[in-house]
Symmetry: C4
Subunit: 365 residues, 4 copies
C-alpha cells in the first residue's frame, strides 16, 4: 500500500478503486438489479443511533469473544468470498494470513481460488462455506475435506438458489481470467465461469450448473446428522426461517442479504436483525453481514442483538490495495474502531455491547 | 433495437427517450401537475423491502398464474394504453403479438389506434378496457363488439371523469398526428384529439367530449347485468370503494393512480394496496399498477397482497425502441426478473409470493 | 403578462422572479431565520397523499362554498398582505378586483398601501385584517372604519407580537419606497418603514413601534363584544389555543405559520391542522394557509379538515407578473386545478372533499 | 470582525472558515469517524417543529433564568472547550469576557490554554469542567483550585474515556503550536499534545496519557462528598445513566454527544433528550448541547424539556472571527434570536418555553 496509511475503510475503498481494473471493481463493489438493497444497507445502518453508557469504571474495552466456539479477537469473521485471487496473486492465502494475525476466523468459500486444505494450513481459525453442489457425493466429499483440513465450522449459504442479476458484470461481459479457478471443485466444472454465455453472466451460469437450486430443510437436517462441526445457515432475513433453522439444529444463523448481491429489494439486514434475534430467543448464535464498514457498524449490530458480524468487501479492498498487509490494515482499522466505539459507548466487553440501547434517527445525508 | 441488448427496463427507457421526439417522450413518460405522484410511485416502491424465505426445496419458481380466469405466464397484464401507433407504426398489433408470445393478457384500450377486432385476432388473451362513452348505445355497442371479438374480461376505468392536467403536453401543444385515430370510435369523435383547443389539451378536450364524466355505481351495476365477462374496475385507491366494488359484483379491482397521470397528489398505489386487500378480503382479485418497473416491483406488489400487476409505460418504451421485438424484450426481462426474484425470495409460485413479509425501510437515494 | 400563458403557480412564480428587483423578490418570497419552516411547509404538503373516491355519479364538481357566511366560488380567500403597491402600481385595487371577478373574498391588510375604504368599493367580498395597534382608540377606529366600509369579517393576526427575523431583508437593507405607505394609518406612523434602523429591519421597527406586542385573550374577548362581524383569529398552531379561541367566541381560526415568515422552526401548518380540527370539534370554521400552491394543496387541506385556505404569495406573484390580469390568472389556475382535483378525487362538493382519506407517504424529491 | 455584521451563526461560521488555517478549521468544525453524528445533530434538530402559543398578553419575553443556582441572562452557558488560544491570542480571556458582558456562565475547560484562576478573575460566572486525571491528588488539586478561584459549579465530562477518532486531525497531522499549552496542568503533561505520535493524533495521545480512562460511578460519588459545588455530569444520552447520576447526587446532567466528536453513530442529543427528562423526573437539571446554532434551537431544546443549553463551536467561530467582540456578537445573536423565538412562540419566560408542544416533521432539505 503506497501513500498515507488509510484511516478508514472508505480510504481503503478508494485505494482499491484506483488500483483495480473497472470490471473487477464493478464485480466486487456492485450489487444486483438497481442496487437498491446495496444502497439501503448503508442508509439503514446510518440511521441506527446508539445511546452510549458512561462511567463504567473500566479501562480497556475488550472486543474479544467466541464465535461458534472459536476464539476471536473481535466479534468478526472474514465473510466467505469466491475467487480471491482475482484481487491479488496471493488471494485466499493472504487474506487467511491476515485473519490469523488479527485473530479472527476466516471463512473459506466453496469457490475459493486456492484449495481449502492449503488455506486451512495458514493458521487462522478456518470455517468452511458450503455451496450445495448438485451431486450429493460431492457435497459429502467437500464436507469431509473441510473436516479433515481442520475447519471448525460449516456455513451453508442458503440465499443463492441462483445468482442475483448483477448488471455491471453483464455490461462488462465479466469472465474469470484463466488463472483463477474454483480450486476446490473438479476442473471441468471450474472452467465454466471463464466463458461468456450467450447474453448472460459466466459466473451465474457456472453457479446454475454446479449448485443445487432446490436446497431444502431436509438437506440441512441431513447435513446436521453428518457432521459434528458447528453448523451455520447464512442468508436468513425472515424470523420464521430463523426459528426453523434453530429447530433444524443449527448453531448460528447469519442475517444477510449477501451484500445486496442477490435479491434486489431485499431488506437491509440491520432492519431484519431484531425480529430474527427475537425469534431465535438465544437458542443459537445470530451473526450479521451486509454493509458493515466500521467499528461503529459492528457496535450497531451488537446493540441490536447480533453476536458478531461477517465482513466482506472491505477485506477484498484491502487485498487489492496491499495484499496481506492491506487486509491486515483493514482488520486492524476495524479492531481499533470497534475497541474505541465500545470504550466510547461504555461497553467493557461484547456482552455489554449487546445491552446498549439504540434509536432510529432521521437520515442526515 | 440497436446496440447492446437492454438489461433492465431502465435501459429500454433510455433507448426510447433517445429515439422519440420530445413531445412523444413527454406524452408517454410525463404525469399530471407537479408530477408528485409520478415520483412518489417510485419512491414508495423503493422503500418496500422484502424478507426472502430460504430452503424452500424447489428448483424452479413458476410465475405462471391465472388472472380473471385467464392463464398468464406471469402475474402481469399489459395495461390499457391509448394510441399505441404513436410509438410505432405497428402499434397495438405489435404489443399484442409480443404479449401473445410472452403469454400474458393484453388489455385493449377504448382509445386503441387499431380496431379491437383486429387486435383480438393477434392471439393474445385480450381484455377490453372501457372508457364510458356519453352515449349508452355506444357503450353497449363497444361491449358487444368486445364480447364478439373474444375479449375475456371487461375493465372499466373509473379514474378518468376528466383527464388530469398534464403540463408537458400543454407546453408542447401536443396533438395526435393525422394518421393516429381512435379506431374503435366513430370518425367524428375520433378527430377531436387532433386539433389544438384554445389554451387546453387536445386529448383532454376529446376525453371531455367523448366520455361520460358522471359515471356512477349504478352504471357499473347495470353493466354487471349486461355481460358475463369478468368485470374489473380500474383506478381504485380507497378501501371503501374497493368494498363497494365487490358488492357491485366486480371480479377484480385495479389499485392504480393511472401512473401519476390523473390526480397529482394521489397516493402511491403501493401505499394504498394493503388496505384495499384487507377491505376486499379475498372476495375479488386485486391487481395493481403505477410504477412497476422490475420483477422485484412485481414481487413487492404480490407480497403486499396483489394477485398481479399491470405494466404500462415500459411496454410503450419497448414498442418505441424496437416494435414487437422491443416489447418482447421488456416482457422477457420482467419475466426473467420476476422468476429470479421469486426464486431468490424462496417463492415456488405466485401463491407463495403473497405470503412473503415486507418491512418499510429508509429511502436510500 | 408576456409570453406563454402560465400553466401553474410555479410558472407565475418564475415570471415574478424574473420581473421583480431582487430585494422585492426576497421580501415576498423569503422567510425568517434559516427558512426551515418555509421549506417544511412544502415538504410536508408534498407527503400528504390523497385516496380519491370513484364512481360518484356526478358531472361537475362544485368548489363553491361559504366562508364565514360569505359566498365564495371556491374555498379560498386572498390572504392579508401588506403593501401590495410594492408589486404593482395598482396594488390592492388590482388584487381586490381580480378577487371580485374570481368570486373569492379579499382580506385587506391593516398595512394596505391603499385605504381600506377604497379597496372595499372594488366589489369583492372584503374582510379586514387587524394588526392590533398600541393605541386602543386607533383599534376602535380601524374596526369602525372596516364595519362602515362594508367589510364582512374581522381577522385578527395573532402571530406577529414582533416581526420574524427575515435575513434577506436585513442583507438587502430593504426599506419601503417613498410612494408606498401604510394608507390606513396616520402618516407619522406609516413613515417609519421607509428608513433604515441601525442594524435592523425598517419594517420590523415599524411593526414594533406601531403594534401592540402584548395582545391577550382579554383583548380578543373585548373585541368580540365590540363588533358583530364574524371574528377570525389568524396564526394558531397549537390545539389548546384553538380551543381557547372557540371559547372566546371566534367564528374561525386560521392554522398558519405566516408562510414561514415568523417563527423559524414552527410546525408546517398542514402538520398542525388535524389536531386543531379535532380540538375545535366543529364549533368554528378552520382555515389554513402557508404553502398552498395548487388545487391539490387545497384538496389536501380540505381532506385534513380545513374549511378553506388563504393564499398569499401566489397572488403577489400574479400581481407582479401582470397586475389584475396576472392575479386573475393565478386565481383562475387555482380554481381550475381545484375543480379538476375534486373531480378526480370524486368529490362533488367541498363537504365531500372533507371526507376524503389521506396517507403520509415518503418524500420523493 | 470586518465587513457586514453577521446576521446568524451561519454568517459567523463562514467568517471563521475564511479566516482560519484549514487545520484549525478542521479541528474545530470536524467530528469523529464518518461524521454521521455531527450531521445527524443538525438533521434531527431541523425536524423538531414547534407549535407556538398565541395571545399570551405579555410584552417582553424574558429568557433570563438560573442554571445551577447561577443567574444567567439566557438559558445558555459557554461549553467547555480546550485550548481557546488556538483561535485567538486572547483565548479564554476573550470568551470569558464576552460571556461576562452577555451575562451567561462560562465553563472553563481542564485543558484551557489560560490558567483557570486568571479566567475566573474576568468576572463571568465561571464553572469548571473536569477531565479526570489519572492522578487522584491532581484531581483533588484541580477541584480545590476551582473552588478557590470562585468557580460556581463543577462539570465532569464522562464521554471521553478516550478521544474519538477525528480523521481530519489525523490527515492534517494536527499538533498544538508551541505557544498553546494546557495551562492548568503541569508542564510535562501539557507538552504532549505538541508532538506527533506515530500514526495517531497528538491530542488523542495526550488525552490517553493524562486522563483516567476508567472513571466510574464510585469516583463521581467520591467527588460528590468532596465538594459543595453543584455537580454536573456532561455526556449522558442513556436515560438509565441519567437516573443513576441523580442517585449519585448530581445537580445536573448534560445530554450531549460532544458535538459529534466522540462516538460516531451516537444518537443526536435532541433525540435522546425526552427520555432523559422523563428518567430524571425533575430531580436534577437537564442541559443539552451538540448542534445548537440558533435561538430556535434553544427553544426546541427547552420545549423538549431541557433547562438550558451549552453552546460550543459558534463561540469559537466568533472568537476566530473577532476576539471578544466576535464572541459577543455570537452571544448577542443567540440572545436576540431566543428572545424573538420565545416571543413568537408565546413564551413569556423559560418556564413557559418548556410547556410548548412539538411535532416531528419531514426533513425538508
Amino acid at each position: 500500500m503506497t501513500g498515507d496509511a488509510p484511516l478508514s475503510v472508505a480510504d481503503v475503498t478508494r485505494l482499491a478503486e484506483d488500483r483495480l481494473p473497472k470490471e473487477l471493481w464493478d464485480y466486487v463493489s456492485g450489487g444486483s438489479g438497481a442496487e437498491t438493497t446495496l444502497a439501503a444497507n448503508r442508509a439503514a445502518l446510518d440511521t441506527v443511533a446508539v445511546l452510549p453508557r458512561v462511567l463504567g469504571g473500566f479501562a480497556d474495552a475488550s472486543p474479544a469473544t467466541r464465535l461458534l466456539g472459536t476464539d476471536a479477537s473481535l466479534p468478526l469473521a472474514v465473510a466467505p468470498m469466491a475467487y480471491q485471487r482475482l484481487l491479488h496473486p496471493d488471494g485466499e492465502l493472504a487474506v487467511a494470513e491476515a485473519a490469523e494475525i488479527a485473530g479472527v476466523p476466516y471463512v473459506v468459500s466453496t469457490l475459493s481460488s486456492v484449495r481449502l486444505e492449503e488455506i486451512a494450513k495458514v493458521g487462522a481459525a478456518t470455517w468452511f462455506q458450503l455451496y450445495w453442489l448438485r451431486s450429493r457425493p460431492l457435497v459429502e466429499d467437500l464436507v469431509a475435506r473441510a473436516e479433515e483440513a481442520g475447519c471448525r465450522a460449516l456455513m451453508v449459504t442458503v440465499d443463492v438458489p441462483i445468482m442475483g442479476r448483477r448488471l455491471r458484470d453483464l455490461r462488462n461481459s465479466f469472465v474469470l481470467p484463466d488463472e483463477v479457478v474454483a480450486a476446490n471443485l473438479e476442473e471441468g466444472s471450474a472452467g465454466r465461469a471463464h466463458e461468456l454465455v450467450d447474453g448472460g453472466s459466466a459466473i451465474a451460469a457456472h453457479t446454475a450448473e454446479a449448485f443445487a437450486p432446490n436446497l431444502g430443510w431436509a438437506d440441512l437436517e441431513w447435513l446436521r446428522t453428518r457432521t459434528r462441526l458447528p453448523l451455520v445457515v447464512k442468508g436468513v432475513l425472515d424470523p420464521r426461517d430463523a426459528a426453523r433453522a434453530v429447530e433444524s439444529g443449527v448453531d448460528a444463523v447469519v442475517v444477510s442479504n449477501h451484500g445486496g448481491r442477490q435479491l434486489d429489494g431485499a431488506a437491509p439486514s440491520i432492519d431484519a436483525l431484531p425480529a430474527v434475534v427475537d425469534a431465535v430467543g438465544g437458542r443459537c448464535e445470530v451473526l450479521l453481514d451486509s454493509g458493515i464498514r466500521s467499528g461503529t457498524d459492528i457496535l450497531r449490530a451488537l446493540a441490536l442483538g447480533a453476536r458478531g458480524v461477517l465482513v466482506g468487501r472491505p477485506v477484498l479492498y484491502g487485498l487489492a490495495a496491499g495484499g496481506v498487509r492491506g487486509v491486515g490494515q483493514v482488520l486492524s482499522l476495524l479492531a481499533t474502531e470497534l475497541r474505541d466505539a465500545m470504550t466510547l459507548a461504555g461497553c467493557a466487553d461484547v456482552a455489554a455491547a449487546r445491552t446498549v440501547s439504540t434509536v432510529r434517527t432521521v437520515r442526515a445525508r
